[in-house]
């Protein structure tokens, strides 16, 4: 059996602070919300071995809004999936909210995702059979000790925070792209997660809607101190965040 390495070189990381760095960076010893050490991801088939991430080291303090940019196929979505425990690294260690999560099993991972993480996807991924309120309630459905009345209340509040209180009974097919993404944001924050992971949240929106969505994310970060990691192709959006991390083909740069 021959194993060959794909022609796509391993990814590397550079980071830069943006003009919008907040006082956060001036705080002494801010808690690290995300800590990746020597993270690597390799995809293997019978004949081909593809290295998507190689020796990534990344630290994200609490309250930081970090964006990740890079060309297509450089591993930025893979990196986001690993941070979000949606995919397992081949090597390295990962700590989130101060917890070493690399060795967590299925049930622990699901519980951690539910209590500490929120996700926003480029394609929104709202459940078409459920109305807006049911979609927003979703994370609380899997959280123990939350009554249905409490779920409804929190979901309504989350929808109000994104300006969609009048759309509770609508279905996703009845919403515009910008409205769908706002619902997705409400769903992601309804459980008050510490970390929000956004994979190209404005990728399917026009510039006006994209700005609206970005304003909401900035507001969440500013007002609630939510740590946000955003993958984006939009340099303009990335410059609004605290830090920009670029993934390049080549070696890793801390």
């Amino acid at each position: 059996m021959t194993i060959s390495t794909s022609t796509a070189p391993a990814s590397s990381v550079t980071s830069a602070h943006t003009p919008f760095t907040t006082a956060l960076s001036a705080q002494k010893d801010p808690q690290l919300m995300i800590n990746l050490q020597q993270i690597s991801k390799t995809y293997r088939t019978d004949t081909v071995e593809t290295v998507a991430l190689d020796n990534i080291n990344l630290e994200v303090p609490q309250g930081e809004f970090m964006s990740i940019m890079g060309p297509s196929g450089c591993g930025k979505s893979t990196l986001l999936n690993i941070i979000g425990l949606l995919d397992e690294p081949t090597g390295g260690s990962l700590s989130l909210s101060g917890q070493e999560v690399t060795r967590y099993n299925g049930g622990d991972v699901a519980k951690f995702r539910n209590e500490h993480l929120g996700f926003i996807f480029q394609s929104f991924h709202l459940i078409p059979d459920l109305n807006v309120l049911d979609n927003v309630e979703l994370p609380l459905l899997y959280r123990k000790g939350v009554s249905s009345k409490e779920r409804r209340r929190k979901a309504s509040e989350a929808l109000a925070s994104v300006g969609l209180s009048n759309r509770e009974r609508h279905f996703p097919s009845q919403l515009s792209g910008g409205q769908k993404q706002r619902v997705a944001i409400a769903r992601a924050v309804v459980g008050t997660p510490e970390i929000l992971l956004a994979d190209e949240p404005t990728g399917n929106l026009d510039s006006h809607m994209g700005d609206e969505v970005m304003d909401i994310l900035l507001g969440l970060n500013r007002d609630r101190g939510t740590t946000i990691v955003m993958v984006t192709h939009d340099e303009r959006m990335a410059k609004k965040t605290h830090r920009l991390v670029r993934l390049y083909d080549g070696s890793q740069v801390a």
């Binding site: 893979t78 999936n81 979000g84 949606l86 995919d87 299925g106 049930g107 699901a110 519980k111 995702r113 539910n114 209590e115 929120g118 996700f119 996807f121 991924h125 459940i127 078409p128 059979d129 459920l130 109305n131 049911d134 979703l138 994370p139 459905l141 899997y142 959280r143 249905s148 279905f171 769903r187 459980g191």
Partner: protein, 443 residues
Amino acid sequence: MLTQLTLALRVLRRRKFFTFISLFGISFTIMALVIVAAIGEAALGDSSPMGNRDNMVVAAHYRAEQILPDTSYAIDSSMIDGRMVYDSTMQIGENTAQDNNSMLGYYLYDNMLRGLDGAQLQSYSAPTADFNTYLDGRKVELAANYTDAEYFQVFNFEWIAGAPYNSTQVQAGEQLVVMSDDAAIDYFGKADASLIGEDLPIGEKNYRIAGLLQRPNTQFAGVASDIFMPITTAGPGYIGSVEYRGGGLGIFIAPTPKGLDRIKASLAEVAAGLEPLPDDPDKNRFHIEGLTVAEEIAASYYGDPGINRDRTYSKFFGPLWVLISMLVLLPALNLANVNLSRVFERAPEIAVRKSFGATDGDILRQFLFETLVITVIGGVLGVLLSLAVITISNQEEWIRGVRMAFTPEVALYTLLIILFFGLLTGLAPALRLARTRIATSLR
């Protein structure tokens, strides 16, 4: 649980086509099964008057053969040392020159089968006569059954009024009649105690009504009659003729179901010992076939029961079981197929649920619950449909002689089938969905 139910109902309401296909398949199948079970229960069950069904042997088939010797010769030739050598063989066999089949005559029963070894109770019944009576210019057809007095001990009818004729009355040849409620309503317009003692003209005679019973809910020929009269009033065709063959059947009750084979063996033994009758001296071999009630009903559909009893039984019940299996399996497979195809469609949804904290167990429970909900709804619809069909069928007599009922046993079988449906069609897709890889499905 309430949340799961609410969400499951919302999903079903949104996916109208899938829901319709699934509900149609489930409800139609459940309806068909309930009706088949209701017919089966009516035809083969042990409800009144078939309380002794499990201990009962029915002798309704008599066969007489003329067996003649049949000699055959075979000559083999071979060449040995240049000379032709011949070897002849003679075989003496049998040949059936003629035969006939019929039901049992009263003479055969009365003289040869009384006190049959193995039977604790027995009776003779001749359900082969039909009469037309007229009332106010309106013709009423009555299926008649001539019986002995023991008949009403063998069969536990539900009595509305009066009582059956007893052995003394039978011996005396009293012209008494027991009527079914349906026949009474058809003829008199009512079926209550006021009819006891009334006259009913049958043929050229007047019979006095001795009792009213509930019309049997079965197609078994031995009891599915409108009127019952003493065998001694049947006339010379039954009483007085020295004939093995006739228009009746013997019913024999064993102490326990294990005694059925002994009765069957006794019948065969009696038949083997029968002598040819003077008016039919050619017939020299006789058979009397004893069948259980289920075998007898199966045989009635094929007309040639006795000699090929096992094949007849399997010819009747085999296709029935195949039909029932297909009724259950085909919609189940269709539902499983529909559910499986939805797996791919809903993979992103599952990935999203898992990304927000759903475990594999949560996913499994959700989809099993959705499947069970739709199965129960379909099952309830099927039960309602079957109740409607049963009610209309009974009112319009779609199946003559069979009054179906939705019995508790049928409801229990139906519930078990519903649950089986739900698991069968929901488990595989649910397992498949629970194992969805999140990162792959969200691309």
